[in-house]
Symmetry: C2
Subunit: 294 residues, 2 copies
C-alpha cells in the first residue's frame, strides 16, 4: 500500500479473514457471541499501517481465550494486518472480536468449536477538542463492578452494564460514568481506566478492584516511571478521588482524557492538570515514535 488516501468504503469488515460487504448480514443468529456474549474483543489504533502495541493486545486476547477455553484461531495477526493494510495509511481504529462460534440453544458449547473472528477497521473516531482542553465530567454510576465475577479482568463482549452506566451519565448531563467495585473502591469508567494524582504521584486502581488491565493503562504506568513520576496501583475510595489534585481516563482510542469533575464537584481546579498534560505529551510522542510520526 503506497497511497495515503483512506478507502472510501470504511469501515472495512472481515469475517474469518475474508473481506465482506460493510452493509448487510455477516453473522448467524446462532453465533454465541450474539446469544450469550460468549467472546472477547480488542480495540486498537493504527497509523501508517502500524498497529500500536499490537503484540500486547494480542497477548491479552490470547490469555483471555485460554481462560474461556476458546481455541485460539491461527492467523489472527495476519488477519489484523491485512485488514489494516486495506485501509490505507491513515489513522484508523481496529476492533478484533472472537466468539466461540455458532451453537445450539443453551449454554453447552458445541463439541467442535469453530470460533468466529471479526475484524472491523474504521476511521479513528473524532473526539471533540473539549475532551482534552476542558476535560470530561463524570458521575459515579449507581451500579457496581464485580471484582469477584467469573470474567473479572477479561475483555468479554458483556458490555451491557457499561451501556447502562453511559445512559445514566447522559441522563445526568455528564460525559462519563465511573464505577465503584462491590467494596466501594474506585474501579474504572465505562470503557476506560482511571488514574488520579495524589501528592504529585499517580495512582490507579489495581485489577483486584475490577479494573481491566488496559494496554494504555500499562503504557501510562511505564511512561510515568520514565518521566520520574511516582506511580502505583492502589485501592482508593470515591472520597480520595474527590480530593485528588488531578484525574484522567485512559483508553486505546481516546488516549488520555482529563477528568474535570465527578458528580458536579471539581477535581482539583476543574481543568486539566500539570501531570495529566505532561503525560499526554509523552504518550503522543510515544505513539509517534512507535508508529512513525503523524
Amino acid at each position: 500500500v503506497t497511497g495515503a488516501a483512506v478507502d472510501a468504503t470504511l469501515p472495512l469488515v472481515f469475517v474469518n479473514g475474508e473481506r465482506v460487504p460493510t452493509d448487510g448480514s455477516h453473522l448467524s443468529v446462532r453465533d454465541r457471541g450474539f446469544t450469550l456474549a460468549d467472546g472477547l474483543f480488542e480495540t486498537m489504533r493504527a497509523r501508517r499501517n502500524v498497529v500500536f502495541r499490537e503484540a500486547r493486545h494480542l497477548a491479552r486476547l490470547s490469555d483471555g481465550l485460554r481462560v474461556m477455553q476458546i481455541p485460539e484461531p491461527r492467523h489472527l495477526r495476519r488477519w489484523v494486518e491485512q485488514a489494516v493494510a486495506g485501509a490505507g495509511r491513515m489513522d484508523v481504529s481496529i476492533r478484533l472480536t472472537i466468539t466461540r462460534g455458532a451453537g445450539a440453544a443453551g449454554l453447552t458449547p458445541p463439541a467442535d468449536v469453530k470460533p468466529t473472528v471479526v475484524v472491523t477497521v474504521s476511521p479513528m473516531p473524532h473526539f471533540p477538542a473539549e475532551t482534552y482542553t476542558r476535560g470530561l465530567s463524570a458521575i459515579i454510576a449507581s451500579g457496581r463492578r464485580n471484582a469477584g465475577s467469573m470474567t473479572a479482568g477479561l475483555k468479554t463482549l458483556s458490555y451491557t452494564d457499561a451501556v447502562l452506566a453511559w445512559l445514566e451519565a447522559q441522563r445526568a448531563g455528564a460525559d462519563e460514568a465511573l464505577f465503584l467495585d462491590e467494596h466501594g473502591h474506585c474501579s474504572e469508567a465505562t470503557a476506560s481506566n482511571l488514574f488520579i494524582v495524589v501528592e504529585g504521584g499517580l495512582v490507579t486502581p489495581p485489577v483486584t478492584c475490577a479494573a481491566l488491565p488496559g494496554i494504555t493503562r500499562a503504557t501510562i504506568l511505564e511512561l510515568a516511571k520514565l518521566a520520574g513520576i511516582r506511580a502505583e496501583e492502589r485501592e482508593f475510595s470515591a472520597d480520595v478521588m474527590a480530593s485528588a489534585q488531578e484525574a484522567f481516563l485512559t483508553s486505546s482510542l481516546r488516549g488520555i482524557a482529563p477528568l474535570r469533575s465527578v458528580d458536579n464537584r471539581n477535581i482539583g481546579r476543574g481543568a486539566p492538570g500539570e501531570v495529566t498534560t505532561r503525560l499526554r505529551s509523552a504518550y503522543a510522542a510515544l505513539v509517534d515514535r512507535e508508529c512513525g510520526g503523524s
Copy 2:
C-alpha cells in the same frame, strides 16, 4: 395450522418478523447485541401453538426494555405467535432476542435506534431422564454474581459469566454451577433459579441476591401456595443449602430439575425429595391445563 408434524427445517429463524434461512448470515457485525451484549432475551416453551405464560415473558421483556431505554418494537406478540405457528403443534422452545440494533463503534447509542428482533423456534431440547429421576450434581462457582450491578434482575445478553461457570462445572464432572452473590448468599444457577426445602417449606433467594425474577420461579411460588406448601423468598447461605432437605432448579425449558448434590455433598438423601416430586407433578399439570394437554 392443523397438522401435528414439525417442519423439518427447525430451527426456524425470523428477523424483524421475516422468516430467513436457518443457515447463513442474518446479522450485521455492527449489531450492538453482538458488539456490546446490548439487548435482552426471553426463552419460552410452546405446545399446540400455545406459548406457556407468554404474557408474563413479554411483560418482563417490556420492563427490561424500558430500563435499557430500548424502544419496544411493535408486533412482538404477533411475531412470536407467527413463528410458533410455523413450527406445527408440537413442543417447541422459542428464543426472542431484542437488541438496540446496529451502531457505530463505541458505547454511544445511535440517535435513531432501530432494534433488532430475532425469534428462533427450535424443537424442545431433550433432557436426559436422569435429570429428573436421579437429579443434578452442582458445584459452587468460583465467581460471584453481583446484585449491585447496573443490570441486576434483567435478562440481558451478558451470559459470559454463566458460560464460564458451566465450563467450570464440566471440568469438575458436575452438571451445573451455583452462584453465590457478592455477600456470600446463594443466588441462582447458570440459567435457572434455585429452591431449597427447609423444615418442609420452600425457600428461594430474593432478587436482591442477584437472582433473576424467573417466570418458572414465580409459577412455582404460586403452585406451592395452592398446594399448601409454605414458600418464601429469603436470603440463605451455602451452609443452609448444604443442610437442606431437598433442593431443585427451575427454568422455562428444563422445568423443575432436582439437585442431588452440591460440591460432592448430598442434599438430603441425594435423590429427588417429596416436595420436589409433588411440585413437578403440579407444574406438569399446569402446563397441560394452560397449553391443552401434551
